[in-house]
């Protein structure tokens, strides 16, 4: 289908474009268009931002194994409503994504649903158990874009060393969330005054920093490329800043919740604010916001983790960690952009393009995806959104089967109007006003 998107404010951070101009799509790709372009569909994007479809570096789809929490259909629909056209999913499914057949099955199921592009991470070790390496070459052939341990730390540092050596051999990226395998394990909240007062077991910042020191030392020894997931602390960011300065091949992302919230948002044991890694102090939160601006943090992800009611309506320490995120990712990142310049709209923020970059081409670069740009010839994954339209975060507004978020009841700005995947309008918001 040939699509002509008219009058939109096109923002393509990869190419420094931020201008009102038209965009043309033909045969699933961005094309140059021109006077002889024969549009089968014309979309008036007046007042809207036209950006590359978002690339989310972590979205749990819960398939296979946890379909009672969410299914591919529900979560890929959520991705469409959130403007996410490519997503990376961690391997902590049941069974774990440690065999090529499972990855092929997941990719196949995603193709049938035909919404967002699904890019699995393979397990770095068999069963995520931290003992034996997976068949990384086979898994890559099946469609894995990197290798991860999800939330399972590797106890044996020697296995970690071997895994990184092996990944380096083939040029694969190892995705790690820095956490010490002992300190803070079983903890449910940031070690600090709030956890002390509420009597919650803590996860100290050193759980992250000790692991970072180990990872950097192993990187120096192996030369492996590492992507650091969900950084939560100011001290952790300081170490990453130094590692990047040193020239280590490292990148980092943060979960979008950690851009705004702190452990104080747990309030009276609100299990919606039970996240992994935990929400930390205001100082840590402010450092994350600053690190996004100065480039220490390369990308923002939704860390989308659908949890069903039965697993959230439990005492805080027993509740499953995680929050729904695909449909909040854009709004919460725009909120950061808006707050950076203190104005009342993200649309007038000087860092709007930078914010979109963190959600598009920078994320795509980390995952090695040909996505996240609007250059001629690129796959036509496009999102059209109104940066100022406000919406209420409530259960019925969310397509995801995961309805739990610490932002429940918040009014956020930034609403997706149209999501185009591979040149097809995959989502069109109905109740425009």
């Amino acid at each position: 289908m040939n699509i002509h998107i008219k009058n939109g404010r096109v923002i393509d951070p990869a190419h420094g474009i931020d201008a009102v101009q038209d965009l043309f799509i033909a045969d699933g790709k961005i094309v140059a268009g021109g006077a002889d372009f024969n549009a089968e569909q014309t979309i008036d994007a007046n007042g809207l931002v036209v950006a590359p479809g978002l690339v989310d570096l972590s979205a749990r789809l819960r398939e296979p194994g946890y379909e009672y929490k969410a299914t591919l259909e529900s979560e890929l629909q959520a991705a469409m409503q959130g403007g996410v056209t490519s997503l990376v999913c961690p391997p902590d499914t049941d069974p774990v994504l440690d065999e090529p057949g499972l990855v092929e099955m997941l990719k196949h199921r995603a193709r049938i649903v035909d919404a967002a592009n699904v890019h699995p991470l393979g397990a770095l070790t068999v069963g995520l158990k931290g003992k034996a390496l997976t068949e990384m070459a086979e898994l890559t052939e099946a469609g894995c874009v990197g290798f991860a341990q999800a939330e399972e730390p590797i106890l044996d540092t020697n296995v970690m060393l071997r895994a990184m050596q092996y990944a380096k051999t083939f040029g694969y990226t190892v995705w790690l969330r820095p956490q010490d395998p002992h300190i803070g394990i079983g903890g449910v909240a940031h070690s600090g005054p709030l956890a002390s007062r509420l009597g919650l077991s803590g996860v100290p910042v050193m759980s992250e920093t000790i692991a970072l020191h180990t990872i950097f030392e192993l990187m120096r020894a192996t030369g492996a490329r590492v992507h650091l997931c969900r950084i939560s602390s100011a001290a952790g960011l300081e170490l990453i800043r130094a590692a990047k300065k040193e020239g280590l091949p490292v990148s980092a992302d943060v979960g979008v919740h950690h851009l705004h919230m702190t452990d104080a948002d747990i309030g009276f044991f609100d299990s919606n604010a039970r996240l992994t890694p935990p929400l930390r102090s205001a100082r840590d939160r402010d450092a994350i916001r600053a690190a996004l601006l100065d480039g220490t943090v390369d990308a923002v992800c939704s860390d989308h983790t659908p949890v069903d009611d039965d697993e959230k309506l439990l005492p805080f320490g027993e509740a499953s960690p995680g929050a729904t995120g695909l449909e909040l990712l854009l709004s919460l990142t725009l909120k950061w952009a808006q707050e950076q310049h203190g104005g009342d709209s993200a649309a007038t923020s000087p860092v709007l393009a930078q914010a979109i970059g963190k959600l598009t081409h920078e994320a795509a670069r980390i995952a090695g995806l040909a996505a996240g740009t609007l250059a001629v010839g690129a796959a036509a994954d496009v999102v059209l959104f109104d940066p100022d339209a406000r919406w209420l975060v409530e259960s019925r507004a969310l397509a995801s089967q995961g309805k739990h978020t610490p932002f429940l009841g918040y009014e956020l700005a930034g609403q997706v109007r149209t999501t185009i995947v591979r040149g097809r309008v995959a989502y069109q918001r109905q109740d425009q006003h």
Partner: protein, 324 residues
């Protein structure tokens, strides 16, 4: 964001609907409970140890974690108020059948419970129950009988009653809490109560492995040296050291703990001559406290138990609204 927003234990008039934690209560709430308790202390000395304040009311003791002692004191307090008491030992029944915590609560509420006395191993569980009942059955009250490491408010209140009984005025006291502060809900409730009542100096004494971070933000001075910490204090609150903490990564042995932090007669003289010694029980003699101190003239450990009945009667009758 403010932590005390939407405090679930107070109704919209600022009165106690539930008792979940001492944190966030006003001094007037605590004074009211202690004054009410003092009117109940005499009842236990009478030949007929009952008042009809909760006649016809049903109190459900929901113990998701074992405790004979606390459950018994609540049971006695309920019976002295003429309430009907139903004891449920939950870990032995429904949760093993897969029933969720809130399903259990809904079922029992449907049996017309008026009050739940809840003990749970998870911090925040009674809060969650209270919040649920506020939405579904606003006439049912919850008393926290100890949740995880979070709070044990009736123990905190009976400790305050005991201190007030012996010391009269809180505003000139030094109080030391000794031992495993990290895992202690009693310590947390005592700290909130003491600071709310205007105690100028609250101390926590223990090794670094048993002291949580953030105590200074709660208005507490920490000491790792027992002798320094006990100097000139008016009140010593000893905490029980759980068996599972006695040897491992937190402490090497019970013997070494006693050597560094056991309350002996030699150490007791460092406190003020009229200092009182308290313990929430059950005691480990020879681990945290020497028998000579536990049985000595400065110990008020058994009066604590007696006052505990009156304090729990006060809390339950105030919540039930039968004592205005």
């Amino acid at each position: 964001m403010a932590i005390l927003n939407n405090n679930p234990q107070l109704n919209k008039h600022g009165e106690l609907q539930h008792l979940i934690t001492i944190e966030g209560l006003k001094k007037a709430h605590i004074d009211h409970i202690l004054d009410t308790a003092s009117s109940f202390v005499g009842i236990s000395d009478r030949e007929v140890k009952k008042v009809p304040l909760m006649r016809g009311k049903s109190v459900f003791n929901l113990f998701f974690e074992n405790s004979t002692r606390t459950r018994t004191t609540f049971e006695i307090a309920s019976k002295r108020l003429s309430a009907d008491v139903i004891n449920l030992n939950i870990q032995a029944s429904s949760t093993t059948k897969g029933e969720s915590l809130l399903d259990t609560i809904d079922n029992l509420a449907a049996m017309h419970a008026d009050m739940f006395v809840v003990r749970h191993s998870q911090s925040g569980a009674p809060y969650m129950i209270a919040q649920h009942l506020n939405r579904t059955r606003s006439d049912v009250h919850v008393v926290n009988a100890g949740d995880g490491r979070h709070a044990h408010p009736t123990q905190g209140l009976l400790d305050m009653y005991t201190i007030r009984h012996y010391k009269k005025d809180f505003t000139n006291l030094r109080v030391a809490i000794v031992g495993d502060i990290l895992h202690s809900r009693v310590a947390r409730s005592d700290i909130h109560a003491l600071t709310t009542l205007g105690v100028p100096e609250v101390r926590a004494i223990g090794p670094h492995t048993l002291l949580p971070g953030g105590l200074d933000q709660m208005g507490v001075r920490t000491f790792t040296n027992m002798d320094e910490g006990l100097k000139d204090v008016d009140v010593i609150i000893m905490l029980r050291l759980q068996n599972e903490r006695m040897s491992g990564a937190l402490l090497p042995s019970a013997q070494e703990y006693f050597k560094s932090y056991g309350l002996t007669p030699e150490r007791l003289v460092l406190a003020k001559p009229d200092a009182i010694v308290m313990h929430p029980g059950p005691m480990n003699r020879g681990v945290e406290i020497d028998s000579a101190v536990a049985d000595g003239s400065q110990a008020v450990i058994l009066p604590q138990v007696t006052f505990g009945i009156a304090v729990r009667m006060a809390v339950m009758s105030i919540l039930a609204g039968t004592h205005a």
